[in-house]
C-alpha cells in the first residue's frame, strides 16, 4: 500500500506505461487463480477466516445471478385470484376486521348452567383478607374496629346508594370505583373500552363477588353493543363475559380479555 501519492504524481507528470491497460487486465485475470491458490494453501486461523469470507461472497454472487436469470424464466400462470374478495364499493377502503357471528346463546346458557368455563387465567394468586381490607376505626374514642375499607378496585353499578354511614361495614372508596374496562378480543387482537355491566365472579370468594371487588382473574360482564355482534338467530348481542388480566389497583385501569 503506497504511503503517499508518488505513484499518481509520476503518472500525472510522465503518463502511464504504453502497455499499462493490457498489463492491468492480465494481472486482474491472474487474481482469480492467485486467490484460489491462497485459499488452498492457507492454514490455521487465517485459512478459516478466509474460507468463511469466500463462502459468503460465493453465496451472494449465486443469489444475484439467480435474480438476473429470473428475467428469462417462465412462470406458471397464477391460478385463481387472491383471497378475501370484496365488492367494488369496499375496494380501497380500510376496513377494520370485526368479530364475526359468534357462539350460540344456547351454548352460552348451557355453559352458564354447568358453571364450567374455560378461562384464560385458570389460577390466580389468592388474596388474604388483611391485604384486601383495611381496618377503619370508628366511635367516639376511636376504639371500635368493625368497619373495613376495601383497598382494591370495585364496581358498584348505576343505581348504587350507600347504606347509612353509621351502619355500613364495608367502605368502597370512590377513588377506586371504575366503570369501564379495556377489553381485548383474543382473535382480532383489538382492544375496546367497554362499560362494565356487573361483576360475575371473583375467584377469591363469593363475598368479594357480592361486594363487586375487581382483582386479577375476576370475571366481568361487559357491554359489547358497540362491536355489532349478531347471533345466527338474528338477535343482537349486548353483553359478554371478560376476565381481568392485570392488577387494577396498581395500574389505575382494568384490562380484560373477552371470553369468546
Amino acid at each position: 500500500m503506497p504511503q503517499n501519492e508518488h505513484i499518481e504524481l509520476h503518472q500525472k507528470r510522465y503518463g502511464k506505461r504504453l502497455d499499462y491497460e493490457e498489463r492491468k487486465r492480465k494481472k486482474q485475470a491472474r487474481e482469480v487463480h492467485k486467490r484460489a491458490a491462497y485459499a488452498q494453501k492457507a492454514l490455521g486461523l487465517k485459512g478459516k477466516m478466509f474460507a468463511k469470507k469466500r463462502h459468503q461472497e460465493k453465496a451472494t454472487m449465486k443469489k444475484t445471478i439467480a435474480m438476473h436469470e429470473e428475467r428469462d424464466n417462465k412462470h406458471k400462470a397464477q391460478d385463481g385470484a387472491p383471497q378475501n374478495a370484496v365488492p367494488a364499493y369496499l375496494l380501497e377502503r380500510e376496513q377494520v376486521d370485526r368479530a364475526k357471528v359468534l357462539s350460540n346463546t344456547i351454548k352460552q346458557k348451557r355453559k352458564e348452567k354447568a358453571g364450567k368455563w374455560e378461562v384464560p387465567l385458570p389460577q390466580v394468586r389468592p388474596i388474604a383478607e388483611d391485604e384486601m381490607f383495611k381496618v377503619m376505626k370508628s366511635g367516639k374514642r376511636m376504639k371500635k374496629s368493625w368497619k373495613r375499607m376495601i383497598t382494591k378496585v370495585t364496581f358498584v353499578g348505576q343505581g348504587f346508594t350507600r347504606k347509612p354511614p353509621k351502619y355500613e361495614r364495608f367502605i368502597r372508596p370512590t377513588g377506586l370505583r371504575m366503570t369501564k374496562a379495556h377489553v381485548t378480543h383474543p382473535e382480532l387482537k383489538a382492544t375496546f373500552c367497554l362499560d362494565i355491566i356487573g361483576v360475575k365472579k371473583n375467584p377469591n370468594g363469593q363475598m368479594y363477588s357480592q361486594l363487586g371487588v375487581v382483582t386479577k382473574g375476576t370475571i366481568l360482564e361487559v357491554n359489547v353493543s358497540e362491536l355489532g355482534l349478531v347471533t345466527p338467530g338474528g338477535k343482537v348481542v349486548w353483553g359478554k363475559y371478560a376476565q381481568v388480566t392485570n392488577n387494577p389497583e396498581n395500574d389505575g385501569c382494568i384490562n380484560a380479555v373477552l371470553l369468546v
Binding site: A81, A85, A88, K100, V230, G234, K235
Partner: protein, 490 residues
C-alpha cells in the same frame, strides 16, 4: 278547595258541546293531483270519512273503469285515519277549502318476504354481486372465485356456471331485454354471456384497471333494441361505451381525474358518471361529448340513482314479467313505461358521497343542485329511487337508512335497526316495501308508509354484500362473505 257547583256545570256543558261538534260537521275539500292541478269541483264531505271512501269518491270523479288505489296527502302529511281526527291532530283550520293531494299507488301489491326458502351454496369465495333479470325469472351472481353463476328460480338450484374471468367478478348487469348478461372483473375485462345457455358471447377489453360499474342503454331509446350498447366505468378514470354485437369500444370518455365509481345511462340521452374526484359528469350518448359537470360534493361521490331507474332497468317488462315479442312493440311499451315513470317532468338524479350528504339534481335542466340532503353521520354507500320516483333511500355506514322525498329532497324518516354499516338497499316493485342488507349479517324489510321495520331476516353467517328484489316482487336474493346465496320469499 272544590269549585262552586255552577262553574263545574258550565265546564261540563262546554266539554259536551266540544265532543259533539266534529261528528256532524262537514268540510269543503278540493282534490288536486300530484302536479297541482285541481280535479273535480269543490265538495262538501263529512268529517268522519276514511281514506277508502275518499278513494271511491276520487275513482268516481276521474271516471276510472277499474278501482285504482290512491294515497292522500294534506300538506305533505299522509292521511291515514279519519279526516276529522287527522285535522284535529294536525291543527289544520277547517274554515277554508282543504286541498287534498292524491298520488296513485301501484295497482299490484307485493307481499313482504318473510322466510328464507333456499340457501344455495356453490361459490367458493364471497358473493360480490347479485342481480335479477328484468323479467324476474333469472338470477345471476358474480363472486370472488372469478365465476358468474346463473341460478334457476323454480327449483332454487344452480343452473350454469360461467367461467372465463381471471379475477374477482365485481359487477353484473342484465340488458333491458334480458338477451345479454355483461360482467366486469378486477382485471378490467368485460365478458358477455347468453343467459339462456350460459355460453360466453364475447369479451370487451380496453380498460386497464378494474371495472366499477356497468349500465345498459335503456330500451326506449331509438336503435336500442335489440340491445346493443352499454357503458362501463373503471378505476382507470375513463367511461367507455361498447357495442355488444361487435364487442368494440365505440366511445371513450375520460374527463375524470380520479376513479369512476358509478355510471348510469339516463333516459334523456345522457350518460352520467360519478367519480372520486368529487364531480359528476353528464356525457352525450351519441358522440361522447361532455355536456355538463356537477360539482357539489366535497369528497368522493360513491353512488348515483335516477328517478326513472326502475323503468330503465326493466324496459318493456311489466310487473308480471311479460314483454311484447315484436321489437317495435317492445320499444313502444318501454317508451310508455318510461313516460309513466317520469310523468312528463325531467329526470332527477341523486348522488351519495363520502362527505355524508346527498345531492339532488335535474341534470337536463341545470347544473346546480335542487337540494342537498344532510343528516347522515357516516359515508353513504348506496342511494336508490323508489320505482315510482316518490322516495329516495340512502344506505349509510352509520347503521341507518334514511328516507327522503323524491321530488324535493326533504327528509322524511330515519330507519334504525341495523347494528353494522348498511351496505345495500333494494325496493319492491310496488314502492311499498324495501329491504336492506348490512355488515351485521342480517337483512331487514321495512314498510315505506309506516316507516317501521316489518320483517327481520337473520340467517347469513357473515357480512351481506349484495341484495336485490325481483321485478315481479316475488323474491329477494342476497349474497355475502359466507359464500352462500339466499333466496327469500313470502
Amino acid at each position: 278547595m272544590t269549585e262552586p257547583p255552577q262553574k263545574i256545570a258550565r265546564r261540563e256543558a262546554s266539554k259536551a258541546k266540544q265532543d259533539e261538534a266534529p261528528t256532524d260537521a262537514s268540510i269543503i275539500v278540493q282534490f288536486q293531483s300530484a302536479t297541482g292541478e285541481t280535479t273535480g269541483p269543490q265538495l262538501d264531505i263529512p268529517h268522519n270519512v276514511t281514506p277508502q271512501q275518499l278513494e271511491t269518491l276520487l275513482n268516481g270523479l276521474l271516471s276510472n273503469e277499474d278501482k285504482l288505489p290512491y294515497s292522500f296527502f294534506i300538506e305533505e302529511q299522509e292521511l291515514l285515519g279519519e279526516l276529522g281526527a287527522h285535522l284535529a291532530a294536525g291543527g289544520i283550520s277547517v274554515e277554508k277549502a282543504l286541498a287534498i293531494t292524491y298520488q296513485p299507488q301501484a295497482v299490484f301489491r307485493v307481499r313482504p318476504v318473510a322466510r328464507c326458502t333456499a340457501s344455495m351454496p356453490g361459490h367458493s369465495e364471497s358473493v360480490l354481486t347479485v342481480q335479477f333479470s328484468p323479467c324476474g325469472t333469472m338470477l345471476a351472481s358474480g363472486s370472488g372465485d372469478t365465476t358468474v353463476r346463473l341460478w334457476d328460480l323454480n327449483t332454487q338450484l344452480p343452473k350454469t356456471e360461467c367461467k372465463g374471468h381471471k379475477n374477482w367478478v365485481l359487477v353484473v348487469a342484465w340488458s333491458p331485454d334480458a338477451q345479454y348478461l355483461a360482467s366486469g372483473d378486477m382485471n378490467g375485462s368485460i365478458l358477455l354471456w347468453d343467459p339462456r345457455t350460459g355460453k360466453q358471447l364475447g369479451a370487451c377489453s380496453g380498460h386497464s384497471k378494474w371495472i366499477t360499474s356497468l349500465s345498459w342503454q335503456p330500451a326506449h331509446r331509438p336503435g336500442a333494441l335489440p340491445s346493443s350498447r352499454f357503458a362501463s366505468g373503471s378505476k382507470d378514470n375513463t367511461v367507455k361505451v361498447w357495442d355488444a354485437a361487435t364487442r368494440r369500444c365505440v366511445l371513450s370518455m375520460s374527463n375524470h381525474s380520479a376513479m369512476v365509481t358509478a355510471v348510469l345511462w339516463g333516459g334523456e340521452g345522457l350518460i352520467y358518471s360519478a367519480s372520486r374526484d368529487c364531480s359528476i359528469s353528464a356525457w352525450d350518448e351519441g358522440d361522447g361529448k361532455l355536456v355538463r359537470v356537477f360539482k357539489g360534493h366535497g369528497h368522493w361521490v360513491n353512488t348515483l340513482a335516477l328517478s326513472s331507474g326502475f323503468a330503465l332497468r326493466t324496459g318493456a317488462f311489466d310487473h308480471n314479467g311479460k314483454a311484447p315479442a315484436e321489437l317495435e312493440e317492445a320499444r313502444a311499451r318501454a317508451a310508455e313505461r318510461y313516460a309513466e315513470a317520469t310523468q312528463g317532468k325531467p329526470e332527477r338524479l341523486v348522488s351519495g358521497s363520502d362527505d355524508f350528504t346527498l345531492c339532488l339534481y335535474e341534470p337536463s335542466v341545470s347544473k346546480t343542485a335542487i337540494a342537498r340532503m344532510t343528516g347522515h353521520v357516516q359515508l353513504i354507500n348506496q342511494v336508490v329511487f323508489s320505482p315510482d320516483g316518490r322516495y329516495i333511500l340512502s344506505a349509510s355506514f352509520d347503521k341507518s337508512v334514511k328516507l327522503w322525498d323524491g321530488a324535493r329532497g326533504t327528509f322524511l324518516a330515519t330507519l334504525r335497526g341495523h347494528v353494522g354499516p348498511v351496505y345495500q338497499v333494494a325496493w319492491s316493485a310496488d314502492s311499498r316495501l324495501f329491504v336492506s342488507g348490512s355488515k351485521d349479517s342480517t337483512l331487514k324489510v321495512w314498510d315505506a308508509r309506516t316507516r317501521k321495520l316489518k320483517v327481520d331476516l337473520p340467517g347469513h353467517a357473515d357480512e351481506v354484500f349484495t341484495v336485490d328484489w325481483s321485478a315481479d316482487g316475488g323474491s329477494v336474493a342476497s349474497g355475502g362473505k359466507d359464500r352462500v346465496l339466499k333466496l327469500w320469499r313470502h
